[in-house]
Every structure is written in C-alpha cells, then in structure tokens.
C-alpha cells in the first residue's frame, strides 16, 4: 500500500515538470512581452525593468532560475502588479475560487446522484425520461450560455439575486448552479448506469430478502458500488470545475483565480500566468492522483501493485 502511494506520487513529478517546461517555453517564445506595448517608457527604462526582472539573461538561465525558485515555493513577482508577488495574488484569490468550486461540486453531486438514483429505480418511466432529458440539457447548455440566461431570468427579470458580485450569501447561488450544472448532468448519467448495473445483482436481492428497508438497501448497499463510475469521474470533474471557473468568474465578476488568469493572459504577465498554471497543474494532478488512490482503496479487486 505504501509502495503504491509512493509510486503514484512519484509519477506526478514528470507530469509537473513537463507542464512547467511547456508553459515556460510557450510564454517566453511568444513575440511581444509585458512591457512592449507601453510606449510611454523610454528604452533605457525598459532595459532597466528587464534587468530588474532578469529578462535580459539567456533563456536557459531564466528557466533554471525559475525552477530553482519554484523548488523553494516562490512563484516570483507579478510583472503587471508592481510590488506584489504571484504567491500573494494566489493567496488572496484562491479562497474565493475554492469556495465557488466546493459549492459547485456540492450542487453537482446532490443533483446528479439524486437524479441518477431516481432514474435508475424506475427505468424507462416518465421520471427516468424527464431526469435524463434534463441531464441532456445540462450537457448541451454550456456554462457561458447558462450563466447569462440565469442572470437574465432570475437577476434582471425576477430581481431575486444580484447580477454579479461575491458579497452576500445569495451571490453564491447562481454561480454555483452555472458551474455545477454540466457536472450534475454527467454524474446523473453515470449514477444511473452504475445503479442499473448493480440493482439486478444477487446481493441486492439478498439484502431485500433479509428484510432490510428498501431505503437502506438503495442508500447503503446499492449506492456504494453504484457510484463507482462517479468517483472515477471526480478527478476530471474537479479539473474541469477549476478551469470552468474562468468563464463563471468572468460572467459574475467574481474576484477569483480564474478571472486573474484570464486577465494575466491578456496582459502577457509572464510570471503571473506561469505561476497560475503551475498552481493549477499541481491541483489538477494532485486531485487525479487522489481519486486514483481512493478508487484503489474502494475496490479491493484492483491490484495495488500496478
């Protein structure tokens, strides 16, 4: 077991390295820099700025320096926000994105698993049909359509919510639904097919024959193996929720990481973009690994040695 964990975590290192190197190359090889469009600076000043940030050094030195700093957990200064480090920007905006992501995940899991179980209990019934149609809708209505439409109907039309912002508790509702809807849809489909596989099996009949209440049979005996596909979907889902926050945070003007990333990308803020990509990648890869480990623990048939 310990070997398995160790192996999984060691396998993360080359992926991380590849991500960092690729991003570094992409961002640095691009024509134009963060200070090229600011014409009001005299050339000497730009030279001085470049020297200050080490941008005048050869590429490989910059790369090695960056890796060295990274190992010490320092993501460097943000070029377009003078006097602020990428670390401090992340520390300020990540909690917002994390909260949004958690709410969205909660929405996705509650609605998704609920709808999936209901659909699987009465396959081909009207209820099944309705929840699967809804889930199809969730897949086909992307966040950047759903978000503005929700704002149009419930904020501008009905006036129940603020159209944007992240201050009051009710500000959390529309963004969470926007971000979570697509994942709720996938989870509903996965839960339905997982439950349909489990429900006809012998051990469910045995549990029913023992006189266990129907609710307990479904919630405890069937659901545990039934949501297996959902657990393996959680890795990509969390990754998707993290990157999906770009759109949601832009729509609702939420001061989170995603909005920062889009702004940084537009401004060609090298270090900010690079730092955020590193941070995202660590998160995504960590979650994927964690999900694999959880799956291995849940499923005794999966060999831990591989």
């Amino acid at each position: 077991m310990i070997w398995f964990l160790l192996k999984r975590f060691l396998a993360m290192i080359p992926v991380l390295w590849a991500t960092i190197t690729l991003t570094f190359l992409l961002v640095r090889l691009a024509p134009g820099g963060p200070f090229t469009d600011e014409k009001q600076y005299p050339p000497q000043a730009i030279e001085q700025i470049n020297r200050h940030y080490g941008l005048d050094q050869p590429m490989y030195i910059q790369y090695l320096r960056y890796l060295g700093k990274l190992l010490r957990g320092d993501l460097g200064p943000a070029l377009k926000y003078s006097g602020r480090s990428v670390n401090s920007i992340i520390a300020e905006t990540f909690p917002v994105s994390l909260e949004l992501g958690l709410w969205a995940l909660l929405v996705a899991l509650l609605i998704g698993i609920g709808a999936g179980v209901v659909a699987a209990l009465r396959p081909n019934s009207a209820l099944d049909w309705v929840s699967m149609m809804l889930s199809m809708g969730g897949i086909c209505i992307p966040a950047f359509v759903l978000g503005p439409l929700l704002v149009l109907i419930f904020a501008l039309g009905a006036g129940w919510f603020n159209a944007s912002g992240w201050v009051t508790a009710s500000d959390r509702i529309l963004p969470s639904i926007t971000l979570g809807a697509a994942y709720a849809a996938y989870i509903a489909r996965l839960t339905r097919s997982g439950m349909l596989d489990v429900l006809p099996q012998d051990f469910i009949r045995t549990a029913r024959a023992k006189g266990i209440s129907e609710w307990r049979v479904i919630a405890v005996h069937a659901l545990k193996p039934g949501i297996f596909p959902v657990v393996s979907f959680l890795g990509p889902a969390i990754a998707g929720i993290i990157s999906g926050s770009f759109v949601t945070e832009t729509i609702f003007h939420i001061p989170g990481l995603g909005k920062m990333f889009v702004a940084g990308a537009f401004n060609r803020d090298y270090t900010l973009v690079l730092g955020l990509v590193v941070f995202y990648s660590v998160l995504v890869i960590l979650f994927n690994t964690l999900v694999d480990v959880v799956l291995a623990i849940l499923n005794p048939r999966l060999k831990l040695s591989t």
């Binding site: 992926v15 590849a18 992307p142 950047f144 503005p148 770009f246 759109v247």
Partner: protein
C-alpha cells in the same frame, strides 16, 4: 412480416445499423435539425438577408421586426445574418478540428496497439502524461501568445482532442490483431502498413465513427468557450461563442442578442449529442440498453 424477414437476411451491417438508427425517434429529429443547421450554414452567403458585417449605427439595436427577423445588435448589424455566418465558422471549426484529431488519434492509436510491447508502453505513457496536463489552460495560453487566427484554433483544439481517440483505437487494435484473419494476412507476407490500413482500421471504423460524432460537439463547445473569453474568433467575424459574448455584454438592454445565439448553440449541441448516442446504439447492438 415476411417482407421484413426477407430484407433482414440479405441486409448489410451498414443497412442494419441504419434501420436501428431510424427507430430512434429523438435521434431522427436531431438528424433533421442538424441537416437544417448545416444547410443554413453552408448557404449563409446566399440566404443571409444582409451582409453580416454591415453596420448601421443610426439604426442601433432594434428588437426583432419584419425587416430584421432576429433584431439587430448594438452596431446595427442584422442578427440573423450574423447567426448564419457564425454557424458557418462554428461548424467549420467543429468539423476541421475533429478531422485533425481523428487523423492523429487513429494513426497514433493504431500504431501503438499494433506494435505492442515496449513501443506501445512508451506511446501510451506519453498519452497518460498529456492527459494529466491542464489542456484548457494551454489552449488559452496558445491563443493569447500567438496571433489569434483560425488555423491555430484548429490546431490547438485538434491537439487536445486526439488523446481519447488514440486510447479507443489502441484498445480495439490490441483485441483485433491476434485474430486469425490478421495472422493470415501476415502469413501472406503483406506489409505492416497494408495490414493496418486494409485489414485493421476498417474493422474498428464503428467506434471511430461514434467517437468522432461525439467529438464534434465538444470541439464546437471549446471554440465557443474561447470565443466567449475573447480568445477565439475575432470580430468583425462572427461565431456562436462570439455572439453569446456580445449578447451577455448587452443582455440588460437587448436580451434578444443573447437569447437567439444561445438557443442556436444549444440546439446544435443537443442534436449532435443525440445523433452520436443513437449512432453508438445503432452501430453496437450489444451496447443496447
């Protein structure tokens, strides 16, 4: 009944699949809708009532009327014309980028599965690593860093979407290559290339078609996502994502600018997904629920 049986006995697999597909009522509706959307996009230059980039600043934004069926945007451009031309771009990106990912994925997966052993191991490990990369982030960086043109958009999206195709094809090829007809082909002294192209790939065409159909909506979604963030198709060109971006900006005053593009994009995605699902059921009878 007898007529039906008669036609079943001498029907090709393709015709059988078509018959199963036709029985799927929602998918047939979806297919009709899809054909209409494609025809509208293809004929956009002919059927658009106005040139899509023609501005009329005096007119400004107007609600749908008999002159402008879907209204005009804040620059006085006809929404119907922009929607039709936007569909052209969105569908073109969808088809081209899917074809790019199809070619890379099928060739890569087939070679990996056919070669087997260490080559297969290395090639698939590479796919695993690429899978773990946060690709949306990369596409965004790519679009920011380089000049935003359509070709780059095709390449960026195609480069993201080939991974799953490679995995699917590899799995199928692994299962196929030990079968006797492949061994026979090898015994006849055919080259590896010929065996791959003539004997193996035609036999995995089913899953390839199904996955391709399901890739198109994902690609369209990715293009719209990028255009929505302002990183994809650039104005005065038009695409569904771009129209939704403009619509979301203006929805407070001119809600029709948001509603029609949103409906069109969702309808396109819905019909593509339904068609893909029905194709999967039709081409793989064992997967029938």
């Amino acid at each position: 009944m007898t007529e039906n049986q008669h036609s079943t006995t001498n029907a090709s697999p393709g015709r059988l699949a078509w018959r199963r597909f036709r029985r799927h009522r929602p998918a047939m509706v979806a297919l009709v809708l899809l054909s209409l959307l494609c025809a509208a996009a293809l004929l956009a230059p002919v059927i658009s009532p106005y040139p899509f980039e023609q501005q009329d600043l005096d007119l400004g934004a107007t609600a749908p009327s008999s002159q402008h069926w879907l209204g005009t945007d804040d620059l006085g451009r006809d929404m119907l014309s922009r929607l039709l031309h936007g569909g052209r771009i969105s569908l073109a990106v969808g088809v081209c980028a899917t074809l790019a990912s199809l070619c890379i994925g099928v060739v890569y997966g087939a070679i990996s599965g056919y070669a087997g052993g260490r080559t297969d191991n290395v090639m698939m490990r590479l796919v695993d690593i690429l899978y773990a990369l946060p690709f949306t982030v990369f596409v965004i960086i790519l679009m920011v860093v380089f000049k935003r043109n359509l070709l780059l958009l095709f390449i960026a999206i195609g480069a993201v979407e080939w991974l799953t195709m490679a995995r699917i094809v590899r799995g199928q090829v692994l299962a196929l290559k030990e079968q006797t007809f492949i061994r026979a082909a090898r015994a006849l002294g055919y080259s590896h290339g010929r065996i791959l192209m003539r004997h193996i790939i035609p036999n995995v065409i089913g899953p390839i078609i199904v996955y391709t159909t399901l890739t198109v909506p994902r690609v369209i979604l990715l293009e719209s996502f990028l255009s929505f963030l302002g990183l994809g198709v650039q104005p005065p060109m038009s695409s569904w994502g771009l129209l939704i971006r403009d619509g979301a900006r203006m929805m407070e005053s001119y809600p029709w600018m948001l509603i029609y593009p949103s409906l069109t994009l969702s309808a396109a995605l819905l019909s593509l997904n339904l068609t893909g699902d029905a194709l999967r059921d039709a081409l793989d009878p064992r997967a029938l629920r």
